[in-house]
């Protein structure tokens, strides 16, 4: 599974992209966040306030309960501020 981070999540984690292999029990966005948050202090800090973290699965906006599968591209980022 490819995981991407943008803006301050990328800065806190220290990378914009990583390939991860979560255990089979990790099946949703929320489950993936729980698992990723345990990977390093930077990950923990990036996910410390989940109300300001948005997610996309395969480049579509996703909610905490949405499914994630091996091979997906999952991105985490703050609320968008373009325009």
């Amino acid at each position: 599974m490819k995981v991407l981070y943008f803006a301050w999540l990328r800065e806190r984690i220290g990378t914009g992209e990583e390939e991860v292999h979560p255990p089979a029990g990790v099946a949703t966005v929320a489950g993936l966040i729980d698992w990723l948050a345990g990977r390093s202090p930077g990950h923990a800090r990036a996910f410390e306030n989940r109300t300001v973290v948005r997610c996309a699965v395969n480049q579509d906006f996703a909610e905490p309960g949405d499914a994630v599968r091996p091979g997906d591209e999952v991105a985490f980022f703050p609320p968008v501020t373009g325009g």
Partner: protein
């Protein structure tokens, strides 16, 4: 049509290209977003826009397609820049063209409201006190909300 690019754009040339040969068009509306030199009370020396290549294009195409479903547009264009921009520089261009003005005005407003809350861009401002990520604004969400149906 949508484009995501680092380079500046020429507003006149974009409008001319979009409307060329389309003589059904009776009205063209443009919105141009610029980098401000002030964020609240803080001076802004530069703004850097980060985006999600791939998803950005996809979302802008979706937003444009939705505008075309809702209004009878003859042409539309979104150009959004990324990278580091100075105050006064252009960030985004939205152009809508229709036989009559009302559709063009409404669709342009819709496109700007929706891209502000759906296109994956993030702004970082640099000032004398350092850098900070711009936070999403509740009134942008409210502006986008009124188009829900």
């Amino acid at each position: 049509m949508i484009r995501v690019q680092q380079a500046d754009f020429d507003v006149g040339a974009e409008i001319a290209a979009l409307t060329s040969g389309r003589t059904r068009i009776g009205g063209v509306v443009t919105f141009i977003g610029l980098v401000r030199d002030l964020a609240g009370d803080a001076a802004v020396g530069a703004m850097t826009l980060e985006h999600y290549p791939g998803m950005t294009e996809r979302m802008l195409e979706d937003i444009e397609a939705e505008a075309n479903r809702r209004w009878p547009l003859d042409a539309s264009l979104i150009v959004h820049r990324y990278g580091t921009l100075a105050p006064g520089e252009r960030i985004v261009l939205v152009v809508t063209a229709s036989a009559h003005r009302q559709a063009a005005f409404e669709a342009a407003e819709f496109l700007v409201d929706w891209l502000k809350t759906r296109a994956p861009f993030w702004k970082r401002e640099s000032g004398p006190d350092g850098d900070r990520w711009v936070e999403a604004r509740a009134d942008d969400d409210e502006a986008a909300q009124r188009w829900r149906k």
